[in-house]
């Protein structure tokens, strides 16, 4: 490639709070339009904002996870503009004194680690959601006033892969930090990417283009690559880039012009007079800092070092907070970690994919999953039986009930097993002969005969041991 790519990313992330940033109305997704609103969210006359403490706590956690310097004096400002999705005619944000500044996160692309700077992190409120149908616009104010943090990276990102890795990293930090549910497709995490190109060695910046409304990490990658190709093409044609906002069109896999940027809008920012500056007390700050949730990286390290999982298993388990939480819940019910990991990765994840539902605990309670794995590890049922039980557990039944109902008890009693072993041996003289003559397959056959005789209840490992023992006597 002939140009150096300069990318900065802005992330808007809805905070996981019960109520809104400045009102007591509930935060919700998917509720009936305009049912989660009160007079404050609708900007009725005389209303005043009251700051959501939990939102501040989550913002502090986000700052800590992104290594930002925290401004302990919380201040807000007004951003003034008229639009139908902005009930008050201004948005309360932190223009002049963002809560976080000067942070960084580390990303990894193709095995190489890179540090991306975080310019600022600030709190603000979301706008209402608009739906355009022909020439009619519907407004749902449920979203109005939802707490947000906006995170702005330094222009340190140099490729589509790095952009995707950055967004993936932010998602992971925000999700594991319990700050947001980071659903890009539902808009609880939105990212805008600013891209410009410049010749290598050039000090200044080229004209930048903003790509908005990217709804998945994959699309971040594709959109950035498409835009780099487009801008390269424009420069090679000897034309210039127009400062503009574009969106990514999935069908054509190209970026499409939304609007040109003509002059900067004057938002007439000024300090919000209805929220006095608030000092975060040492006590509050210490409490938040000492209870920081574990990041995916920290959980992964715990899995490897404390639970003895492989790097591969630990990586998969920490690819999403839902899976990691589910794993932790099962293990905390008493299931052995390694078996739990194997089962989650091989069985549960494939079912989740089929059902397209990752709310694992909704279809199998952690306790049930743990009970199943304990039955296996204690040798009460075989692995094969366990899979049979698992299939039924998805219907909500407990593994103990299923085992009892199906009579799926594995016999591990030596005396009991020995009876079967002796009976099989007495009926299969040829196999004994074969075994003596070094035909290993004969042992497998004999184990199979015992299984058949026991209607699948014999513990296969013990059966095999007993057979070898008995055969050596003959």
């Amino acid at each position: 490639m002939s140009f150096e790519v300069i990318i900065g990313i802005e992330i808007h992330c809805e905070l996981k709070t019960k109520t809104k940033m400045f009102s007591g109305a509930p935060v919700s997704f998917g509720n009936l339009p305009n049912t989660c609103v009160n007079e404050i969210d609708l900007g009725h006359p005389g209303t005043l904002p009251s700051l959501n403490k939990r939102a501040v706590e989550l913002a502090i956690i986000a700052c800590e996870l992104m290594n930002c310097e925290i401004d302990r004096l919380i201040r807000f400002d007004r951003k003034n503009y008229y639009y139908s999705d902005l009930p008050k005619g201004y948005q309360i944000t932190q223009q002049f004194h963002p809560i976080g500044r000067g942070g960084y996160v580390d990303i990894e692309v193709d095995g190489v680690s890179k540090r991306i700077g975080i310019n600022r992190l600030h709190m603000e409120e979301d706008t209402a959601k608009q739906f355009h149908h022909g020439d009619v616009t519907w407004i749902d104010f449920n979203r109005a006033g939802t707490p947000l943090v906006e995170i702005v990276s330094e222009p340190d990102i140099r490729s589509g892969k790095e952009a995707a890795a950055f967004v993936e990293k932010m998602k992971s930090l925000l999700e594991f930090g319990d700050i947001s549910d980071v659903k890009m497709e539902e808009g609880s995490l939105r990212c805008d990417v600013n891209i410009s190109l410049r010749p290598y060695g050039f000090e200044g910046y080229g004209t930048k283009v903003e790509i908005k409304n990217l709804n998945s990490v994959n699309n971040v990658l594709r959109a950035v690559e498409a835009e780099i190709a487009r801008q390269t093409d424009v420069y090679f044609k000897g034309e210039s880039i127009v400062q503009s906002t574009r969106r990514y069109d999935e069908t054509s896999r190209k970026t499409v012009l939304m609007r040109k940027k003509e002059g900067a809008v004057d938002y007439k920012y000024f300090p919000e007079p209805n929220i006095p500056p608030i000092m975060i007390s040492d006590e509050f700050y210490r409490k938040v800092k000492s209870n920081l949730p574990k990041t995916a990286q920290q959980r992964k390290e715990d899995y490897i070092h404390l639970l003895g999982l492989s790097d591969y298993d630990a990586s998969i388990l920490t690819s999403g907070k839902d899976l990691s939480d589910y794993f932790d819940a099962i293990v905390s019910c008493g299931a052995p970690a390694k078996n739990t990991a194997n089962w989650l990765i091989s069985e549960v994840l494939s079912v989740a994919q089929l059902r397209n539902n990752r709310r694992f605990a909704d279809w199998i309670q952690p306790q049930h999953m743990s009970d199943l794995l304990v039955l296996v590890s204690e040798g009460k049922i075989s692995g094969k039986q366990a899979k049979e039980v698992f299939a039924d557990m998805i219907q909500g039944e407990s593994p103990k009930d299923i085992v009892a109902k199906k009579g799926l008890v594995q016999v591990s009693d030596e005396g009991h097993l020995l009876c079967w072993v002796l009976e099989v041996l007495s009926n299969n003289a040829q196999s004994i002969e074969d075994y003596k003559n070094g035909k290993d397959r004969a042992l497998g056959f004999l184990v199979g005969q015992v299984m058949k005789l026991s209607k699948g209840k014999a513990n296969p490992a013990m059966t095999s041991e007993l057979l070898v023992q008995e055969l050596s006597k003959r």
């Binding site: 007079e39 009725h44 009251s50 003034n80 008229y82 009930p87 005619g89 007439k268």
Partner: protein, 470 residues
Amino acid sequence: MFANRKIENIEMEVMDAVNQARKQQPLLNAMVSFTEVDEAIEYAKSSSGKMAGLPIILKDNVLTKGVRTTGSVQILDNYIGTYDATITTKLKEAGAVIIGKSALDGLGMGGTGTNCHTGFVHNPYDLTRMAGGSSVGSAVLVASGAVAFAIGSDTGDSVRKPASFVGIVGVKPTYGRISRYGIIPYASSLDHVGYFTRGVEDAALSLEVLAGRDDKDMTSSFREVENYLANLNGDLTGKTIGIMGNVIDAIRSKEVLVLFNDLVEKCKAAGAIIKVIHMDPVRLKTCLPVYYIIANSEATANHSNLDGVRFGMQERGDSLEELMTNSRTKGFSFLLRKRFIIGSYSLADENQDLLLRKAQKVRRLLVEDFKVALADIDVLIAPASSDVAPLLTDTSADQLSARYLIAENHMVLGNFSGYPSMTIPMGKINGLPIGINLTAKPFEEQVLFDIALGMEHLTGCKNMMAEVML
């Protein structure tokens, strides 16, 4: 008067108030709407609240659920309150009976009572005169005898100035003492809830009802509310009273000075220590422009919610932008639009350093001066206006004279600083009342009430009422 008086016949007291307000309406034009009272009367009968059965009036910028609340602007002419302001709730809980909503200069902007959406409001002492503003209707209805208590709001001097012109008590407590939740704002950093009574004892009791922390107003104070009435003590012995020398120097009316000096002499005789305090005269002249810039800047943003989209009057348009422009153009008077433009201009990126930010800096300096002025004294006093109420036809005020800049605008220092400040009547000139203004240190409302009570004893101006010629 209602402090230390149990209202025996609530129905009669309330209906008397309603009837008076109705009868006076053609002359005073002080009411915007009357409210249903039956339910509140029933509630009051079994209430042991501090205002049980007391008929009261709210300025029409106080939100009342289910009752029209217009802010005295066209764009809210059809607006029905969707919730109760915190003070509305507190007053109801105290057993007060809200009989109606009173006129104001639109959105609280104006000090004449001539910029109301419902027309001019007249002074009950002389119908050809103004009664000040912006809380004009409330002031007039307390002075006319219709009610003994009414709510106002004070951003520049909107309670304390009209109180002077109609001879009643007007109180603006410390910023944060009374919740602002549910008051249609003017300028958030200057807005205070205030109120009118006809005596200092009533004023002391009323603050007990209204004050207190409200989680819905983050600027409201956590300080405990005091027993202002029980602790009230009008003994002036040893009290230090500072006279604002700059204001006295700027007043041209001999009669006003005679009344004022007479009261000062009486205070001295009653044991008070009198000092004359001078503040930086150049800085004092900036009160008005500083006020204008800050108030209009905040107001512009505060009223951006009135866009005709979600509530209030809507004027159609071919686009969203046109709908908003049309609604706001038709929905606000020329004066209000002018103020929004001044505010918007002061907020513009290229002007903000020179206008809003500079005004905020000067505000801080003025507050510093004011703090120093109050440092060694209990209260700072000055006439609440340089003369009696002007004629409704009077537009001659020379807005750049010291008389105007200092004598008419010093009370805004109470809004800049948030310090508690009140006006009580000090006498009459040719039958027209005029008041004296007192300001104390933050949250020293008790000191303020104590000295005001001492002065009320000396002036004898208690429970003054106008004879409205019907």
